[in-house]
Amino acid sequence: MTDHESTTIEPEDGRLRPLLGTLLMRARLPLILLFAVATAFFAWQASQLQPDASFEKMLPTSHPYIQNFLKRQDELKGLGNSVRIIVESREGDIFTAEFQDLLKQITDEVFYVNGVDRSALQSLWTPNTRWMEVTEEGFVGGAVIPDDYDGSERTLAKLRENVLKSGQIGRIVANDFQSTIIVAPLIEIDPNTGERLDYAQFSRDLEEMVRDKYQSDDIRIRITGFAKLIGDLIEGATLVGLFFLVAFAITAVMLFLYSRCGWLTSAALLCSTVAVVWQMGLLKLMGMGLDPYSMLVPFLVFAVGVSHSVQIINRFGTFIYFKTSRIEAARLTFIRLSKPGFVALLSDGVGFFTLRVIDIPVIQELAVVAATGIAVLVLTNLLLLPLVLTYTGISDRCVGYRATKENSRFTHWRVLAKVTRRGPAMTVLGICTLLFAGGLYYGQHQKIGDLDPGAPELRPDSRYNKDNAFLTANYSTSTDVFVVMASTGEQQCGSYEFISAVNYFQGVMETVPGVQSAMSLVDVSKLSIQGMNEGSPKWHETSRNRYILNNSLSSAPNMLRNTNCSMAPVILFLDDHKADTLDGVVAAVTEFADEHNSETLQFELAAGNAGVEAATNIVIREAQTKMLLWVYGVVIALCLINFRSLRITTCIIVPLMLTSVLGQALMAALGIGVKVATLPVIALGVGIGVDYGIYIYSSLQSYLRSGETLENAYFYALKSSGTAVAFTGLTLAVGVGTWMFSPIKFQADMGLMLTFMFFWNMIGALLFLPALAWLLSPREKAASA
């Protein structure tokens, strides 16, 4: 066999593919029309896709903790779907007439924002913020804003005094008196229309009506809360469209530089774009939204599409160069490439599909969506692209460029092929062994879960997280909340048996590292009994006396117990949501529950953002190994089937493993934890990475069979597919690399990791694979010995 293609049908092309190829070419016009109609339909579907940030999908729904949480979700609803608007005075404290005037205006403004529960809105200017004191006659109190408030020094001093007596320091007034909070609880379902609150709209309303309007040199507005977070996420996710355009543009330039042919470039881009449109249309048909995770898939589909297109236009160009007609060239291209293309896509798709084993809906969805996208590529790139090429053809200038290229000496590949000699091979193998060792060593430090403070979905320096950090620094509050659900029989949540158990439980939990404080119905009881006894600290305790106890709980807020009084959430405020902290909390709760759970008393894990994250971490830790076993199992099986050789499979798989190991070390080094977003990255990396190995080794094998030395065989292999592999690596890396600039932290993490893995897989396939081939080749060893 020579180093260029045969332009006639060979026996090894089989019978089915030439037949199919002929049929395709005959029906090319109706087929293209059919594709056009289908594309129009899918485009219409895709245009209806809604951004979607469902957090339920990120939960490992079958984990017992999450099941407990979902079972109790309605009862826990009161726990905190509110937005906090912090109004900060940049100069002086909040007790000035100007500041209070502005605070009053902002409070009024927030009152009218759609979605705010107006009756529960709280700020210094709402009547539900009261001061209270015990006197000889009993309780006296009033609104913190004095009745006769007129902005004078005297009434401002009165206001300050009332605030001190209100117990709101650290809650709605900062510990340093420089800022104050407007707490806006939200109504999730509009009682008039029955519609769910649109978080994106709500978030925009807040920005326009509050932040943009009132923020100035003297006043800073900060906003935190779940609804704001979701709003910021959806807003950030819309930037993904821009990233797609950037990735598209870079890919187009790269394609053109590679092919020097406008027609080929356009054809490749067109078919890959059609694949993306189909995939997004199918997403809508499958009833899914465009969540910040599945947004990754169009990028992948596009990049994989382009890299396969490169193979096809490359081959098509070659056939044209050898003076075949357009139609014949397209037919031959189809005949030659449909099999390896199909196998490669199959390995990608199956690799993605193994993500199904992870019990987290968003990852399972990602698996389905990505596998669908890959399936679509079989149609758009293996079928449609050759058809399109029959119409576009290839310009003479392109053929000319190809001719120069074809006749060049490929010095760079010559040099690279030397890696199959003893010395360079030993060097590469030595370096790779060191990298393996180093990777394994650093990989041990890989952490599970999110490592940064604040909302892990956004970057640590995002505005939301800065606002959040301000809140935790200046108020007595933590945003890492772990909820344990303490349950008992119906109407028993006010019994002394239950209350005393919860009290003891809180005492135990407060000794767990990372737990700042615990809060529940018990604290309401204690405070209320202290209040009934003239505020004496010595009465800060619950009571065994059922009348006193019932009385003390009569004013407990609804969020601290469910409606039939069989469950009370125990809220643990944590220092952070690092995996070690969460593990410690989970272990302590489990130990306590094992010892004390009975028929009438159960401590159930877990709710709250930290509780959910604890369960997710547990699932992810188990899933990581399972997923690696599956994806490597599948890839190894595919290689074995394709090559029927353990040696070749080793040559292809070991470089992938190095990439996986280095990927884990990189995560450890960059402080990226294994989490819902980064877990699938390794499977995606391996699934796509195996392509390079398959392409290169396929060529290498055929040249070896024809009797070439390893070095020559590898040089020819590089000449025929090395460029394509390098190009593929770069396209994929660019496609996902734009994600690194996403304001959404997990998208950036995914982008970074995927870029690294795609790029390093390419390096591994071009350098490590031939060195391994040298090592494992018996003939070569014998020669050098």
Partner: protein, 372 residues
């Protein structure tokens, strides 16, 4: 060893099985170990010789042997909240708290044992009420004067009501808290608390006996504190302006009438004066051992919950919002506020002169407080 009869086995099993089925008494479980026990909510602090001992929420007792710089947690058999601690001798002390718990230490606070709890209190109160009913019934039966008859019958009704109350209390279990403890020597001491609870021991706590007969408190208002003064005088203060002194080591108590109608949370004797303090910053001064009292001017209208005599002769009082006052016999005042604004419950002066405050946010130094 001989054969054990199956019945004994069965009985043994039953005995073992029974406590497991009964509800766990969390209040009487050992106190949980904490990393920073001095930051738990602490309600009283006292000196055991040079050592400082503070008690508080969920049975926490903390000790310091370096005048308050470092603290460690003692072994405590209960996790009910402890409200007061007192050391008549450097090694010997008592702590009291909710659930009617009285704890004793003989090693300066390192380890504690439970001497008495609300179950004992409930039984004694029931016995007291029953014997009172019996005594009154005898008197009523013997008495023929019609004028006295009515008053007696009222008293009898009250006593019978107390029996009902005590019966309910036994069913409820150990509920009511002790709010203060005071020993006048290593053997004789008092524990006082909610609903007029007053128990006395004369044998270092081997027996605690109900001792409410000597004090007139028919409405069973809470007693908040008991304090000693010169020549062995004792002061007892409580809810609704209750204030008594005793010149005979607590056998009989003289009530100070009409001083004030709010709560008096405590009293403290400085040089040449005794102070009683309470709700909304009310402070009363007596120059003559409690016979006569006058109110001091105080424009800080926040409640004062605890006090201690300082070595300079002044009395230190602490209260809500982190307020600290030092007052001398002339009524001269010095005030501080702790920046945490935490409600303070008690204070102590260490052997090196440092003053420590305890309250809702644990231990704090007076040196951190800002002068007002």
């Amino acid at each position: 060893m001989g054969r054990v009869s199956p019945i004994v086995w069965l009985l043994g099993l039953l005995v073992c099985a029974l406590p497991a089925q009964a509800a766990v008494e969390f209040a009487f479980m050992p106190a949980v170990r904490m990393d920073d026990p001095q930051h738990a909510q602490l309600l009283d602090i006292a000196r055991a010789g040079e050592r400082l001992v503070a008690v508080g929420e969920r049975g926490v007792i903390v000790l310091s042997d370096d005048h308050g710089q470092t603290w460690r947690q003692a072994d405590v058999p209960v996790s009910t909240t402890l409200t007061a601690v007192n050391f008549p001798q450097p090694d010997v002390g008592w702590a009291v708290g909710h659930s009617g718990a009285i704890l004793h230490t003989a090693d300066a606070g390192a380890s504690w044992s439970l001497q008495f709890d609300g179950r004992d209190a409930n039984r004694q109160y029931l016995a007291w009420a029953q014997s009172r009913v019996e005594a009154l019934e005898e008197v009523v039966a013997a008495n023929e004067g019609p004028e006295q008859q009515e008053a007696l019958e009222y008293a009898l009704d009250d006593a019978m009501f107390a029996v009902d109350d005590a019966t309910d209390a036994i069913e409820t279990g150990p509920a009511d808290p002790f709010l203060d403890v005071l020993f006048i020597d290593a053997n004789t001491g008092f524990a006082v608390g909610a609903y007029g609870m007053l128990y006395r021991t004369d044998n270092a706590g081997t027996d605690w006996r109900i001792a409410i007969d000597g004090v007139a408190n028919p409405d069973r208002f809470h007693y908040y504190a008991m304090a000693t003064g010169v020549d062995g005088r004792l002061y007892l203060s409580g809810e609704a302006g209750l204030l008594y002194y005793s010149a005979d080591t607590g056998q009989s108590w003289v009530r100070i009438e009409d001083l004030y109608d709010g709560s008096l949370f405590g009293s403290v004797e400085g040089e040449d004066a005794v102070f009683a303090f309470g709700l909304r910053g009310h402070i009363f001064l007596s120059p003559d051992g409690g016979e006569s009292w006058r109110e001091l001017e105080n424009d800080e209208r926040t409640s004062l919950y605890g006090g201690v005599a300082l070595t300079d002769g002044r009395a230190l009082m602490v209260g809500s919002g982190g307020l600290v006052l030092a007052i001398d016999a002339e009524g001269n005042r010095q005030a501080w506020r702790h920046p945490s604004r935490a409600s303070l419950s008690s204070a102590v002066q260490a052997a090196n002169g440092d003053i420590w405050l305890v309250g809702m946010k644990g231990l704090m130094a007076l040196s951190e407080a800002k002068p007002l």
